[in-house]
């Protein structure tokens, strides 16, 4: 039976276990990269994911063994994200990324397409988008999302409801049945 994330993290915290840390990266690197892309990082998403793993390692002694590793990882990712925003000034949109050279390979070739998830997410207010990214795409619970974003759980629920409603409208408008 494979070790859980928490067991691996305990090994890292206790004995600087490089193999366990690589296994954690194997399991979560794609999740983290997608997390940052969904939040509008189209160029440096790998850098931010790496920064998150690096900070996880640095903070390994503070990892509480009863906490969910995923939740803790995204808490650190949230700080990395805030630091990134502080440095880069503002969040980039899909259009900004499309205009950049070279264009990110995973974006569709057209500047705006109705089925483009990133474009759709760009249309959401920032507060709603953060909740949707954490609760839907990162698959965190409402409680974990509330803790990471520092807002009440009720606010998470209402923003998630409204965010998904707006997202559905965007897709229905752009892709009428």
């Amino acid at each position: 039976m494979p070790e859980t994330d928490e067991e691996l993290m305990r090994r890292v915290a206790k004995s600087h276990d490089g193999q366990a840390f690589r296994e954690l990266m194997n399991r979560h690197q794609k999740l983290l990269v997608n997390h940052f892309i969904r939040r509008g990082v189209y160029q440096e998403y790998e850098d931010l994911a790496q920064e998150t793993f690096f900070k996880i390692y640095k903070a390994r002694k503070r990892y509480r063994t009863n906490a969910s590793f995923r939740s803790w990882m995204f808490t650190i990712a949230q700080r990395v994200w805030i630091d990134h925003l502080r440095k880069s000034g503002r969040r980039k949109t899909r259009e900004d990324a499309f205009k950049q050279e070279p264009q990110p390979a995973f974006l569709s070739t057209q500047p705006m397409q109705g089925h483009d998830l990133y474009w759709a997410l760009d249309q959401l207010p920032e507060t709603h988008r953060d909740v949707v990214v954490h609760a839907v795409f990162d698959q965190l619970s409402h409680g974990e999302t509330a803790q990471i974003l520092g807002i009440p759980e009720g606010t998470v629920k209402s923003r998630l409801h409204n965010g998904l409603k707006q997202l559905r409208e965007i897709f229905n408008t752009e892709n009428p049945a």
Binding site: M25, I37, Y45, Q50, Y57, H115, L117, V136, F171
Partner: protein, 349 residues
């Protein structure tokens, strides 16, 4: 995904570079190296600061000359000479250094007492050898006859071993000391004093009669004995002290015996021995002609002039030599050096 979210298309799968993990690991290694460098830097800084501080402190000590107490220096040098002069069996030779072989045990006891009172502790092996030889010389204390030189040898050995026992308790030695004190109590005379028990007692007076010098010594031994159970000791001490008090004359001098035919004044050791019981009652200075007397004088009143006078007679090799000393022919160089050292550090008297 939740069925309500079916409208959301699957996200494209961005390619992650193959070096993704290696770069994180590399950063971690770099982080450790950097932290180690910082730690090294802090340690180096601490070492540098400490060595600078130590150097400054050391320099400060160098700048201020140490004012070594002359009497400590003199005593230390004397002790050094005594250590050098000690024989392999732990005793000291009196016959070849101006004294008489008959007093070798007593003189060895004096030398051991000087080592015990040295300003800097002497090598433990040296001291243990000396103590062991003294214990051997005590033999069977209950059979000791208290005759002539043997009396002094035995008294001084007992006095020294009692001081050793206070510092280094030992069951074997306690048994030896208890027997010795018991032997002394048995020899107390009917008038409360003690005297020589031989026929030719140092040329003073023959046969059995109480004597101030002997009584003082035995009272002194009983008064300063280590914590031992010696039945009757307190009662004997009280009687002996009362006898001594009766030997004091109205002019401050001391009679050697009941007959008052020999009187001790400031030129005699006995005067100062008795004066120890009334410290500071009189003043005088060391004479340089009786180290035994001068020792007791400095034990009563120790003036800078006394100490300086004794120090000035010390020879360059650390010992004291004076063939004119009253007891030179008995104790020689070892006796004179031990008594002079003890005069400089007058404790354990």
């Amino acid at each position: 995904m939740n069925p309500d979210l079916d409208f959301i298309p699957p996200p494209p799968d961005p390619e992650i570079s193959p070096e993704f993990q290696d770069e994180v690991i590399s950063r971690i290694h770099h982080f450790h190296r950097r932290r180690q460098r910082i730690v090294n830097l802090v340690v180096f800084g601490l070492v540098l600061t400490t060595s600078f501080y130590v150097r400054r402190t050391r320099n400060a000590y160098r700048e201020i000359p140490v004012k070594q107490d002359a009497r400590v220096a003199s005593a230390a040098k004397g002790v050094e000479w005594l250590v050098e002069a000690q024989k392999d069996d732990g005793t000291w030779d009196t016959g070849n250094s101006g004294g008489h072989a008959a007093f070798a045990d007593g003189v060895s006891a004096l030398a051991t007492l000087a080592l015990l009172n040295a300003p800097d502790p002497v090598n433990r092996e040296v001291l243990e050898k000396a103590v062991h030889s003294l214990e051997q010389s005590m033999g069977e204390p209950h059979k000791k006859p208290l005759q002539g030189p043997e009396f002094y040898n035995w008294m001084l050995s007992l006095h020294t071993l009692a001081e050793v026992e206070k510092q280094m308790p030992n069951p074997h030695r306690q048994k030896l000391l208890t027997q010795s004190y018991t032997n002394l109590l048995r020899r107390q005379l009917s008038d409360g004093g003690w005297g020589y028990l031989d026929e030719q007692p140092m040329g003073y007076i023959q046969n059995v009669s109480s004597n101030s010098a002997v009584t003082w010594w035995i009272c002194h031994l009983l008064k300063n004995r280590p914590a031992l159970h010696v039945p009757g000791a307190e009662k004997a001490l009280a009687r002996g002290t009362a006898w001594l008090d009766e030997r004091r004359m109205t002019d401050g001098k001391v009679a050697y015996q009941s007959s008052n035919n020999i009187i001790a004044d400031k030129d005699d050791a006995l005067f100062w021995m008795i004066a120890l019981q009334n410290i500071g009652q009189t003043s005088s200075s060391v004479t340089g002609s009786d180290a035994y007397r001068d020792f007791f004088k400095t034990a009563v009143v120790q003036t800078d002039a006394d100490l300086k006078a004794i120090q000035q007679r010390q020879t360059p090799d650390g010992s004291w030599v004076n063939p004119q000393d009253r007891w030179w022919r008995a104790g020689g160089q070892v006796y004179l050096t031990a008594m002079s050292v003890l005069s400089q550090v007058p404790k354990g008297a």
